[in-house]
Each structure stands twice: as C-alpha cells, then as structure tokens.
C-alpha cells in the first residue's frame, strides 16, 4: 500500500471533485457531504476518463412522468456512454459486478504544521 498526498481538504469542498495523479494512476477524489472517496479515473466499459463525467444523483421513479432523486452527489456518469457508477464503491449501479477501483482515502493533519490544513491521502495497493 502506497500513500499519495493528493491535496488539502480546502481544495475539495462538499459536492466537489478533483482529478489527481497518484503514482501512475489518474484518480478522481470526491467530497460527498464531508467524506472523501477516490475512484480510478477509468471506465471499465470502454476506457473513458470516468471522473470527467458529471457528478449527480440517482434518478428513481414510481411511474412514467415521475422523477425523484436519491444519493445526491454520489453518482458519476461516464462522459461517453453515461453508465452510472457509485462514487462510494466504484460499482456500476445497475450491474455492481462492473466496477472501477475505489481507493481508500484518509484525511490527516500534522501536529507540527504551522497552518491548520488537513491533507487528503489516497492509498493505492
């Protein structure tokens, strides 16, 4: 497991996203209501840069003409074919066996730091 510093907490506000390089990987780091998640920036379908797609909600319905929204900010749609993935797990919503890698994220603070920033790390196996 290698730990990569990918930014400061202030770089990615709630609802925000940042695409970073961690080692040789492109990774999308998401802030969903104060918690951080990281996905490999690669769609398992045809290889698009998944995290450049829109971050949105999961649309549900009780019938034609009705549209409701769940999991606000937890769904990323691939920029090419619009397949929907769960930011928290990397799994495709309607077919969880299709997935991109979800990395562990930690937020750390150095005691000796002069500023008050917390740092975001992505852990890659």
């Amino acid at each position: 497991m290698t730990k990569y510093l990918v930014g400061k907490v202030g770089d990615i506000p709630p609802g925000g996203k940042k695409i970073v390089d961690a080692g040789s990987r492109s990774v999308g780091v998401y802030n969903v209501q104060g918690r951080y998640y990281a996905l490999r920036n690669l769609c398992p379908h045809q290889g698009a840069a998944l995290c450049t797609g829109v971050t949105t909600a999961f649309v549900t319905s009780s019938g034609p003409g009705d549209f409701a929204y769940e999991c606000e900010g937890e769904i990323v749609r691939c920029p090419w074919h619009q397949w929907e993935f769960d930011v928290k797990t990397g799994q495709m919503v309607v077919d969880p066996a299709t997935r991109t890698i979800a990395y562990e994220v930690s937020v750390e603070k150095y005691d000796v730091s002069v500023d008050d920033e917390e740092y975001i790390y992505v852990h890659i196996r």
Partner: protein, 380 residues
C-alpha cells in the same frame, strides 16, 4: 480488478501499430462557412427565418450533451480549419486511423423537409464545404454524398456532380424514409451509384421526422431508447425491401451499407428471410437465390452500436452467421456519445478476422489502398 484495469490502457498486443479504417464519423461543420455555399435566396431565408428543418434532436433526446461525448469539445471559433485540427488530434492520430469515412456532412434533417429544391441546395452546400475544407486538407478523410432523397432525380444529379471525386466513397441517406428503399421510386439513385461505382449507404436517423414515416408501424414512440430500438426494425424493412423488390437483380453491382443499426441481430434475421423465401419464393420469382446470398454479396454492416451477448461464446457463431469476416466494417461513430472505442469495443478475435473487420473489408468496399505500413514493408 487490477489486471482488468491494466489491460484497458493498452491496445491489444501486436495490433497497436496497425492502422484501421473507421466507417462512421460525424464531423461537425462550421455553419457560416457552409452557408456561404448556398444560393443567395436560401441564405437570405435562413438569415431571416432560420434553418426551416424539422429536427430529431429536439423531439428525441440524444444521449450525453447534444449527442456528443462530454469530453469532446470542438473549437467554437466558427472555422472549419479549427474543427479539422481538433478532429485530427482527437481521433485520427489518437486511434491510428488510416481512412476515416465521414457519413455525410451536415444534418440528416435535410432529408426530412418537403422542399426538395431546398434540400438539394443544402446537400450541394455541405458536399462542397466538405470537399474544400476537409477532403482537400487531409487525404485520410473520405466522405459520403449527401443527397436530397425526397427527389431521386435531383439526388442522381448531385451524385453525378461530385461522385467521381477520389475521396468521395459512397452515397448516403437517412433511415427515416417515405418509402422502403427497395421501391422503384429510388432507381435513379441506384443508377447513379452504379455509374460512379459508389455503395448506397443508409444511416440511422430521422425516423418519423418531417416527411418521413413514423418510426414504427405501431406509430410514434416516446423515449429515446424506444426510438433507438425502432431503428433496427426500420433497417430490417429496408433490407427486405431491397432484396424482395429485386434491387440487386436489377443492379447487380450495387453495394448496400447499413450504418449504425447494430449488427448481431442481422444473423437471425437472415435465417428468417431464408426460411420464408423457401415457402414464398414463387411470389417473388425474380429473387433468384436465397436472401442470405444477396446479403453476402451486396450488403455490408457497420459495427456500432455493437451489441454483445452476455454469454461471450455466442459472439463468434453470430458473427459467422452474419458473414462478419467479409461483410462487417468497424465504426466508432465519433464523436457521438455512444462511440465504440476501436481498442475496447470488440471481444477477442483471431488476427485474421480482426484485420478483415478493422481494415480489409472497408478497403475492398470503398476501393482504398492497403495499409501504408504494409506497402512500405513490401517495397523495403
């Protein structure tokens, strides 16, 4: 997961340096530069009233952002040269494309308006724009003749006008139609195709829009996904019409290309046509051979949007049944949102099959040369 991800970033080994032919590409156009090719009368009408065309996009919601992959951002400076430069970098160079077949320029909506004279003028404008701004500037780019299919005589005139250009490789029409394409109404178009040795291609689009018939025999559909499903039915109807109305008997050298209607569904459809022909042959006695033979000799299919069976072992038998080794052409549909990545859209195939689908079938159909790398290899 790690191993899956690792293979995704690398094209299949040994094929990385091989160039391909991409048979369905939609270059955007620089509006003002196109309109400068129109006669004054139509230019002034457009300035005053707008494009006066029914559109598919407004009625059915094409995917992603305006139907285009979200990560493709063509320059907006209104210059064809900028569009071309972007296309060269983002597609031709990126995927080592030796020949790129543009499936017409401009909006297929041209083929939905009742005013055939206006449609013809627009087709001429788009064809000329393509020749001057794209074909003249990049030999990799080949294009298709846009025709006013509303009026087959005007369509034939346009084919005669540009059909001998060396980078014009086919004639194109949209799937949405007033009559199935086997109807004798269209013969002037096929006569012109044969005169110039150009395949006649039908590209899905504009079903049920403007003067075209509803997108299904059951009537109009509501959602874009239903509309996409309907396109296959329409292509089926055109194919049966071409075969059983005797188009290929009358025009024995004519090649018919079905673009963007998918591919594997064709296998059982061919089986059904052959079975029914055995029973009903006497009703269309001019159809001399089993329908599958007409398909094998006269019909090509582009791959996108490829449909893949959940059980991968079904893939190759279906490919064989639709004559993929000689009749299937790779298409990406760039820059549209349902783009098929040349490196990642197909399951594994042997190299011979891959070479046929990604290069040779198209080269033979469109009369294009062998790969430059192969030519260089031979002379070295």
């Amino acid at each position: 997961m790690e191993s899956v991800a690792a293979t995704q970033e690398t094209p299949r080994r040994g094929r990385k340096r091989l160039s391909i032919i991409d048979c369905d590409i939609h270059m955007p156009t620089a509006r003002d530069e196109v309109l400068s090719y129109l006669p004054r009368h139509y230019r002034e009408q457009i300035d005053t009233f707008g494009m006066r065309l029914p559109t598919q996009g407004a009625m059915y919601l094409n995917g992603a952002k305006g139907g285009i992959m979200q990560d493709q951002s063509f320059p907006q400076d209104g210059k064809a040269s900028s569009l071309l430069a972007y296309f060269q970098t983002e597609h031709l160079d990126k995927y080592n494309i030796e020949h790129a077949i543009l499936t017409g320029l401009g909006d297929y909506a041209i083929q939905t308006t009742p005013d055939a004279d206006y449609a013809a003028a627009l087709c001429t404008a788009y064809n000329n724009y393509g020749i001057d701004h794209y074909l003249a500037n990049d030999p990799r780019i080949k294009s298709s003749v846009m025709i006013p299919k509303q009026d087959p005589l005007l369509a034939a005139k346009e084919i005669d006008r540009v059909g001998s250009h060396p980078q014009i490789v086919q004639v194109i029409s949209s799937n949405g139609a007033e009559k199935p394409y086997g109807h004798r109404f269209y013969y002037p178009i096929y006569e012109a195709c044969v005169r110039h040795n150009l395949p006649f291609a039908v590209h899905v689009s504009m079903e049920g829009i403007g003067i075209n018939n509803p997108p299904t025999g059951a009537g109009h559909v509501n959602h874009y996904i239903e509309y996409r499903m309907a396109r296959t039915q329409i292509m089926m109807a055109h194919l049966a019409s071409m075969i059983f109305e005797g188009v290929f008997d009358r025009f024995p050298t004519l090649q018919f290309v079905m673009i963007e209607a998918g591919m594997l569904w064709i296998a059982p459809y061919i089986w059904r046509m052959d079975q029914d022909w055995k029973a009903l042959r006497s009703q269309t006695p001019w159809v001399k051979e089993p329908p599958s033979e007409y398909v094998r000799k006269h019909v090509k299919f582009t791959s996108q949007p490829i449909e893949l069976p959940p059980d991968e072992s079904l893939f190759l038998p279906l490919m064989k049944s639709m004559f993929a080794e000689t009749n299937l052409l790779f298409a990406s549909d760039y820059p549209h949102w349902d783009f098929d990545n040349p490196f990642k859209s197909f399951p594994k195939m042997d190299d011979g099959m891959w070479d046929r689908i990604f290069y040779r079938n198209a080269a033979e159909l469109y009369g294009l040369p062998a790969r430059r790398s192969e030519t260089e290899g031979a002379s070295a």
